[in-house]
Symmetry: C4
Subunit: 494 residues, 4 copies
């Protein structure tokens, strides 16, 4: 006989903490303190049905794997739940009253899709995807840095046929782009990352799944098209065994390379994300917003509450901050020898070190402006590498991400030596429209790339060379030293 | 006996597609798939009277020439048309209720005329003239680049008399300007390009007719004043014979030179133009705007519709993308030896190549920011030529266009070595006022040129030399290499 | 017996043009075509009382001197004027209904006074003072250029006493400023330029009267305080005899130097000023604003009306555009040997030429951004002189004007070598408050200068040296050649 | 028997000026002319209860110390005061009607706290804290200058543990920050500076008390935690004996160093502060705002009123403008040999001089943009020192202040050589929330510093070296000479 709502409702505290998910009851009392997303959120749902909150941010099976079988308390009769137990998210609608929802047909470019997503997504989802560190200056600069680079189109070349194909780590791609890893696709669409992987397959470019995807990498691999190129993005776990287990499985499932993210030993301060969480809490507890102007002299040593966390903080809590260069070989071994992509290179020295330590590709990235406010755009890091460590471009594949929204943005990076470009947020935004949205992003990029390659007077990506761009305005501000070769000091230590 | 509305109405599909234009019925069933503007627009008007849509964007006689005589089905009795057959364009008025239309008398400068045109023109016409590529950053930069160049006025020179005349390819001009080629003048005024040609004649500067003019080059030649300088802008057709036929006629009609546009092997992405089209379609089909958030997993491989095209896409469909340097001599031969102007040079290498391949003049142009987003302004290309290929300035005439709105803009280009400047959009906007508007643009430019030449302490255009400007801020960002002489590699191939 | 309104009303055309001013009737029939302000404005007032329009823009006695005695037709009985003859200016009020007029007490800086003046002055007066050439970019740049220069304050100096006095051409001044010449003071206040001269006397700095002052230089000289330093600004008349007559009188009246304005051989295009005039005309003739979209093919050669003129155009019509360097010695001779100030130097070459031709002081000026749009700010010209012609600073006094609003602005120019700074518009705006306003401007500048000289760690203007400023950002954009010494070519001609 | 309201009310003029403060009556007739805040404000409260105005801007006991005992006239029966005698500040509320006051819980960063303070503080308090010199361009530039410097994060370093401690003049600090001296804490909170000192103690970083604190340095010392580091900021008094008396007491009370402020020999022009005062006066005297457009010719020599003073002007009136380098040794002697910090260095020459004259630390500061408009940001001065006087960084500790709002701002200064950073306004704003607010500011900075140090790949502040930043954009505009070593000229004088 199933449990009743009343049975569950009593276990609503730290002392005994039960929760309903998809009609099943779980005892989380022991697990709660080690919940990666913090204990507070569990207490909020203690004794209640947490399905709606749980679902979009956990891959299926997460709770079943995390809890020992004896904590699975069986089914509950959903008809017996009290109104209070049936938690419904309070969502501030983005559409004005009577406003028609935006249509994919009216979207001509990636910014249109972003604006549509802002209207269509739940505020929390929008805040998570869109948020960036601190004052979002790096986020904005990522975008703005493209215009300071001019193109130098050449004319009167036969551009009837244009070949946009390339290879990434030897795997053919129909375009010089790949789906950059971004978490929590199911916040936007029930099929989440599955849509991304399906469209990447049909379009013929690689899909790199996020370590924090809301669909498991197993599912993605299972639905993969034959020959589809999948990469796996790893955040190394404080418990290295867990990472090793993942890497072994990933390799067996046919993933073609491991991407180690190195710019996030701790999560950045994403205030938009945190604010969305605070707004949600304040909506539930009106007292929270009231001024505390009268706080007196006895307050200073009062203990601080656990700070309110956005999704990013919650997700990043298991990441190992001890990760260092020597660990790259451990990753390779654990994956059975898969190629390594190092994501998050932000200075020429580290590009050289990555090459030295055997990386097969590096991604110049500031994590979409989500980590260190003040970091250079990927174009700047690319120019810095050209200036101080030009040989890196011959040794490893250099990929870029961050702020790419136009075909010309991609062409500028390619001209300066990048092999491919990762597209992150636009694909996440497009999930508001499901597969059709993702397809549209790919199509827009393909069309813009084809059109502008022709307008540059080129017929293949090999012809998109440094002389195709004027980056002097940006070069004028590139780091000018002191510069010390990092390899020397590495060798010196041996 | 004429046909009736009912007779025509039945032929409203791909299977049988009739259309009424100027009271005559045409059978477009076979022609439709090859219509340069796409099939969709024809289906929209199938079985109906398309005169209002057809008229401003096709030179008279277009349909008669395009269709074999047996497709001319005779007259229709217009009185018998159903309401649905009488298509009336739905135009969102730009004037607020009760707002007086702008007056030419109140226009003091070219921007005033632009603002007036925005109010007076049909949205579709405005969108076509005003649109530019992608985010319109190049469009804006064209305009902004002028202010970063300072003038260096000299004083205490006798400037009583100032001579603004010059020659273009040996033809005398009263001003260092010409009417730049721009399509579809009849979108703005029933007389369209005729107004432009008439005022150019009365003012004494050259008129360069667009290949896509909505008045035929024959008509323009017929109404030309004796001694008027006319140039013909060519887009080379995929069917070279068609271009040869045009060139032969153009030469016979007295056109003085052929301008080959080289920056548009494919059309740029002009979203304002495309959006105007989408808005029109959405106004007709309210379902189009509705969100498609529910599109599921089966969608990704669904065929894409023919994309909605703006006017630019439609117009450019016949352009030959194989055109290359060697074809310049073919153009010259086909025109019986007329001088060649190469329009759309955007880098120093191509300026040198144009001179090498025998061009008589080159136009530094990014097509008004309508083609490759990120291209340099004409001032930048001019400075690049001064830096890398200064001898080009001695070999060919260098003209500029793009964003010129003030007399001082023109003087800055002349000081840096340009021989003349093309004025495009302002003349198109001024068509909202017919000949009087075009006249006003010419008069404003003449007055500003005379005034500022005097304020520079010059009395003729020969005195407007490099030392008259301080372009250092712009020079600081000019391309700085790698630079390889293109002539060397051309010679090497021989 | 006086004339009646009816007598005068009949003479309201070119054929016979009478006008009433201050109760007297004048026959302007013959004079009209040569009226410096154009004939149109006279026709507007033909047969009517023009006192209100005439008064603020003509020094007393202008009409009596301009017309032969027989054109003075005697008095009119003002009681007999018809309503239509009593022209009252239609002024759009700047204050919102119920808004209190701004108070001088609330003005803390020169911008406050400008904002107050915009509210208090008649629109036409505001438009005349405030207007600048074309898009007012040079006007704005004049102001903005100051912030790009940083100060380098030094500390721990005894700054108890600070001496702000200097000399201009040997005449002691209590501050390193002078009242720059600006026309038409009586547009703002019935006492007009008298207020300026009085306050300059009481404050102890020079007053330079405009050639187009609305109070005559005789009156100014008559009311001058003993020892007051007055300079006279000359626009050389096409009729040189007239200028010679003025110079002779000016010298006798005790003016200390002649300022020759060289940047205005023709007036700049001041659209704000022109627009104010058009607005006035349109208010009177509603048809003027109506759109002329239907203007047909027969229009192009139609004669253009006399263009509507702002005050600037009207005032400048007598200026001699043939003026050249050799004429400086003529000015000196005609003034009996007074020192010569050349106003409007905008490039280093001309600074050198002015020194060569014997100028005693030069004013780096772009006429407040009212003449050549695109001209350098006075700080830029100063830096250009430091770069190419540094010896000029030893040979002549260098003064600056244009956009100075703060004590620190003045100190930046002084540090870079200027001897004094002209303040124009702020004094004109302050006339809205009469003497008290002018006094306030002087006091604010004095206080800001004293305060910031101390904050710079200086106690006298001699200590305000180049090392007190960091002008590198500006220097980076200073003209970089080609540069040819103008003196060489002058000597070569001899 | 206490005095009555009527007794006091009669003494309401210069002739006899009594005032009530905290229920006691004082005779200020003789004192008034020497009141540091000006006589006008005393006359405003003559015969009335001034407690509310007096309280937040005077440390307790100020009046008792300032007046001889015979001027203490005894108590007044507050019940007998007339309505007019009970002055209540007229405060324009910042919160819209029905708007909830901002909550500290919703503040994620220092800007949030500033915005909250703007809503919560009295207008006069806000104006005093927030105001800056002239047009506040230096104030804004302080903030903006940080973004032009990029960080160069390095990756794959073990950043588990991060040590943010440092020493200031040998005193351990838990963070590389200190509370910068700012006056008038009790304008924001009854406990004022006590809150700041308490939190500094609990957090473990130094507190530098302002010479114009509204809580006395004695009180602060009395409540100090054992081992707490306190610094004293001195404005040298025109009466040096007074300063000597203070320094002796300060040393005895355990203050660890004396900070001599050198950038304020006179107060800057803080218009926001002055305007707040004017607004207050105008609210009381509506006639003050009325326009004086009719002021006639007799006005110019009329005496000017005592100018309205903001708080800054009032506070600074006792500061000695004769202070010079040689006085540093006097300060040291008078304090019994305490270390000297020189605050307000704005050029490399003065940094070298400070080191030469024995300063132990220097603070690169433009006084929060409150003194000399146009002064460099502290980052610029730091770069200038690196360029011209790099050895200064080895000789003295270099601290910075002005515009620091983010952990990354602090890290940029440290990377370029600063030892610590002063936080001023944010702490003052946070007083709106009392201790809890101050605590929050400290916590936010600590969290941001820890997070970004890790993101830079550093684990201690020693690793935050010049190669961690790209300051080239700023370097491109650093002063480029003429530069003369100040030490040479000092030695030459010996």
């Amino acid at each position: 006989m199933p449990l009743t709502g009343a049975d569950v409702a009593k276990h609503n505290s730290k002392a005994s903490l039960w929760m309903i998910i998809h009609g099943k009851v779980y005892d989380l009392t022991e697990f709660a303190p080690s919940h990666p997303g913090g204990e507070r959120i569990l207490l909020k749902y203690a004794g209640k049905d947490a399905t709606e909150e749980y679902d979009p941010i956990h891959p299926p099976g997460t709770i079943d794997e995390a809890l020992a079988p004896e904590k699975h308390l069986g089914e509950v009769d959903l008809a017996t739940l009290s109104a209070e137990q049936q938690v419904v998210e309070t969502v501030k609608p983005r559409l004005a009253e009577g406003e028609a929802p935006p249509s994919l047909d009216m979207c001509l470019n990636l910014d249109d899709i972003e604006r549509a997503a802002e209207k269509l997504l739940k505020p929390k989802a929008w805040a998570y995807y869109r948020s960036a560190a601190d004052d979002e200056k790096t986020f904005n600069w990522n975008r703005d840095s493209f215009f300071s680079v001019r193109l130098r189109p050449r004319v009167l070349r036969d551009v009837t046929d244009v070949d946009l194909t390339t290879t990434l780590l030897g795997h053919r791609s129909s375009l010089p782009i790949y789906v950059a890893p971004a978490a929590m696709g199911r916040l936007a669409h029930p099929e989440g990352e599955k849509c991304l992987a399906r469209v990447a397959a049909s379009q013929g470019f690689p899909y790199m799944i996020s370590a924090n995807a809301s669909v498991s990498y197993e599912e993605i691999a299972q639905q993969a098209k034959s020959g589809q190129t999948l990469f796996y993005q790893l955040y190394v776990n404080r418990d290295r065994k867990k990472s090793e287990a993942i890497l072994e499985k990933v390799a067996k499932l046919g993933y073609k390379a491991i991407c180690v993210t190195v710019d996030a030993p701790v999560a950045g301060k994403r205030e938009r994300d945190e604010r969305a969480k605070l707004d949600e809490e304040a909506a539930e507890d009106p007292n929270m917003r009231k001024a505390v102007a009268s706080t007196g002299p006895n307050a200073p040593d009062a203990p601080q509450d656990e700070p309110s966390q956005g999704i990013a903080q919650a997700l990043g809590s298991y990441v190992d901050p001890t990760l260092s260069w020597d660990d790259l070989s451990w990753v390779r071994r654990a994956s059975g020898g898969l190629p390594i992509i190092v994501k998050g290179i932000q200075r020429a020295e580290d590009a050289a070190l990555a090459a030295h330590y055997g990386a097969n590709a590096i991604i110049l990235s500031n994590h979409g402006g989500r980590q260190c406010e003040g970091a250079p755009s990927s174009l700047e890091t690319l120019l810095e590498i050209r200036k101080f460590e030009p040989r890196v471009l011959d040794k490893v594949e250099v990929w870029c991400d961050g702020g790419f929204r136009r075909g010309t943005d991609v062409l500028k990076a390619l001209a300066l030596g990048a092999k491919a470009v990762g597209i992150g947020r636009p694909f996440m935004y497009s999930l508001a429209f499901g597969d059709a949205g993702v397809q549209k992003v790919a199509t827009i990029l393909r069309d813009e790339l084809a059109q502008n390659t022709r307008l540059l007077g080129a017929t293949s990506l090999e012809e998109v060379v440094p002389a195709m761009v004027n980056a002097r305005a940006l070069e004028n501000a590139i780091y000018d030293g002191p510069y010390e070769s990092p390899i020397k000091s590495v060798l010196a230590k041996l």
